[in-house]
């Protein structure tokens, strides 16, 4: 694991993007349907504007307004899902259109290798406040350089209806195969983490899963199918849980139900005692940005206690702030299971970084699972 040395000042070496952009070229050639107007920020690029390409949790007024008021700037946000989509948008945009990028942290090495992200100064983040497990994650530093700061994280685990489900069953980690919940299981429709969770249930450490392990994971996944009532995106599985069509969501956790709990106190989430699968998002500055100082100020705001509190409790989805100094109320911390974080983080696992062929095979197996 790489060490943290918080020392440097300002933005490090604002080199322009370079190197092989094969992935960008590929995406550019295949994203012909996207029009330029839908890809570029809607407002003019005035000096006092910041254009951010982010996940939906960064579009909250309560998160952006304090920054806009403090710096007298306008933040234009575009929400995307999936790193591939972000790369398509960047490819279709003019250099310098975008200043800040939020990205799935495990994708940071890949994105950084395309020359898209600016190398960041160490002092841009309050490393002392960031959970060490995140600060030391393999994608936080690439060859000793930081390209994206961990800003929010969570787990792939289980959400459940407390009125029906014994929390002990969820903590055992095999609830998806438990005959008590036949036909009462909903599954988050994202093959990548769910198949790793299936791997965890048979003792496979996610980061060590290989192509050869996919056979046994497939068998275990297909064994789950009879218990499964629905497989859907976040909104769909939330809906299924709230309307009583399922009692458990596999692959969900704090990001799935936390914002529902205040009005649906019978809902809860947990990870298996043997550990969950960690997800985390990072925030970085684009190498082509012409407003790097302002972008750096935005990163500092996001990583500040107030920014972290707002980001963690976004209207789009709640999740754990990367910083232990985040401003959260006692109720909010309880919903996020704040007091269990040290244990959760210690027992949980980082995601696998698959080869493309393995990724294709996993998607094939997932499609077979859906069709079975």
């Amino acid at each position: 694991m790489l060490n943290i040395t918080p020392a440097r000042v300002g933005i490090a070496t604002p080199e322009s993007s370079c190197g092989s952009l094969s992935r960008r070229s590929f995406l550019g050639s295949t994203a012909a349907g996207l029009t330029a107007s839908s890809l570029t920020p809607s407002l003019a690029f005035a000096a006092q504007e910041l254009n951010i390409l982010v996940w939906c949790d960064h579009a909250d007024t309560k998160l952006l307004l304090p920054f806009e008021e403090k710096y007298g700037v306008k933040v234009n946000s575009k929400v995307y899902e999936g790193t591939g989509t972000a790369l398509s948008i960047l490819e279709q945009s003019a250099p310098g259109d975008w200043d800040v990028l939020v990205v799935d942290a495990p994708d940071v090495p890949q994105v950084a290798s395309l020359g898209i992200l600016e190398e960041l100064s160490e002092d841009i983040a309050p490393w002392g406040d960031i959970f060490p497990r995140l600060a030391d994650a393999p994608w936080t530093r690439i060859d000793g350089k930081v390209y994206a700061i961990p800003e929010k994280f969570g787990y792939y685990g289980f959400c459940y209806n407390k009125n029906v489900v014994d929390p002990a069953d969820a903590r055992r980690g095999d609830i998806a195969w438990n005959s008590k919940y036949k036909g009462r299981i909903g599954v988050y429709d994202y093959y990548f983490p769910v198949m790793q969770m299936v791997g965890l249930s048979i003792g496979k450490t996610p980061s060590e899963i290989t192509y050869d392990d996919l056979g046994i994971i497939r068998e275990r996944l297909l064994e789950m199918r009879p218990n499964v009532r629905t497989v859907g995106d976040i909104v769909s599985v939330q809906n299924a849980l709230v309307t009583g069509s399922v009692d458990v969501i596999v692959g969900g956790a704090e990001f799935t139900v936390s914002n529902l709990i205040p009005t649906n106190p019978h809902l809860d989430w947990v990870i298996a005692d043997s550990g969950g699968l960690i997800w985390n998002q990072g925030i970085g500055i684009l190498a082509d940005s012409s407003r790097k100082e302002l972008a750096a100020d935005f990163l500092r705001w996001i990583l500040s206690p107030a920014g972290q509190g707002s980001l963690a409790t976004s209207e789009c989805f709640w999740a754990m702030p990367a910083s232990r100094a985040a401003s959260l109320s006692a109720d909010q911390k309880a919903i996020l299971r704040w007091d269990e974080q040290e244990n959760f983080l210690a027992s949980s696992h980082f995601s696998l970084l698959p080869e493309p062929d393995m990724d294709f095979e996993m998607l094939d197996i997932w499609t077979e699972f859906l069709q079975s």
Binding site: T30, R229, T230, D233, N239, A240, G244, T367
Partner: protein, 294 residues
């Protein structure tokens, strides 16, 4: 009648021969060429490419086609799509035809527009919202199950949501409206004296319907049914929300390839297979697709 047709035909001929009429065609042709023909050709080429090691390689191999047809669960997705679409189309026609018939021939003319407007009111809501609304109706503690359990007809909620039935129901709700419109517009064009003449010649109401009304309304049914088929077979939202991935349909399989692994070549193969199916159905319907009758 013939003279009127000749005059109309002659006017149409004159209009077609005006240079400005021909010029007016070019924007539409250019639009179709740029946004249909060109993307189609690109998609066709991409279907032979390969997605490997994080990039696409412009190869000319049949691997993606082989892969598609050798995977039972992908071929099943095609069958599922066809079945769901056929069910939807048949049920929608069966519901929409009587509705359109009553509207055209039984409802006083002054009320027809108001009732037609009421019929298409659901069109005014967003498609996704409508699908989620159905979910609230069909869920285990939704309106139907709550009522059934409360009156004691069932002890446990019925499995209504996240089934193929739910998917078809969502589609039928939408397409019944569309079909009602196309069938109604076809029915009101049938001269009333045709039915009177049939009756005068001794035909019973059923014979009049079977030999006069139904044949003359076929174009409206065919256009509506074809539109229903095309839109249903390419729809992703309803099977996803109401079907809950209880089975995979082709559009869902395409989305999985694009969204999750950016495998555009495989998605292109599936899209082309879907297009071939739609083309076959078009050829089947072609004889009856008389758009000018609408």
């Amino acid at each position: 009648m013939l003279a009127a047709d000749d005059a109309s035909s002659s006017r149409g001929g004159l209009l077609r021969n005006l240079p400005i009429a021909r010029l007016a065609l070019y924007p539409a042709l250019a639009y179709s060429f740029l946004f249909f023909v060109v993307p189609f050709l690109v998609m066709f080429c991409v279907s032979f490419w390969q997605r490997t090691r994080g990039r696409m390689e412009a190869t000319w191999v049949l691997d993606n086609y082989t892969r598609f047809f050798s995977r039972d669960y992908l071929v099943d997705a095609l069958y599922n799509s066809a079945e769901v679409t056929v069910f939807t189309t048949i049920i929608s026609v069966m519901i929409a035809y009587p509705l359109a018939y009553i509207l055209a021939f039984r409802v006083p003319q002054k009320w027809q527009k108001l009732i037609l407007l009421t019929t298409v009111l659901p069109f005014w809501t967003a498609y996704v919202v409508r699908s989620y609304s159905w979910l609230l109706v069909l869920a285990d503690n939704g309106i139907i199950n709550s009522a059934l359990v409360r009156v004691g007809l069932v002890a446990e909620p019925l499995t209504l949501a996240y089934t193929r039935g739910a998917t078809v129901l969502g589609f039928v709700h939408f397409f019944t409206m569309l079909l009602t419109l196309t069938i109604y517009s076809s029915l009101i064009q049938i001269p009333r004296n045709f039915k009177q003449a049939a009756s005068d010649l001794g035909a019973s109401p059923l014979q009049t319907f079977l030999h006069v009304t139904l044949p003359l309304s076929v174009p409206g049914v065919a256009v509506g049914a074809f539109l229903t088929f095309v839109i249903t077979i390419g729809d992703y939202i309803t099977p996803q929300i109401l079907g809950g991935n209880s089975e995979v349909l082709i559009p869902q399989a395409i989305i999985l390839q694009v969204q999750r692994s950016a495998n555009f070549p495989m998605a292109a193969v599936m899209s082309l297979v879907l297009m071939v199916l739609v083309t076959c159905v078009y050829l089947l319907f072609n004889r009856h697709l008389k758009m000018d009758r609408l």
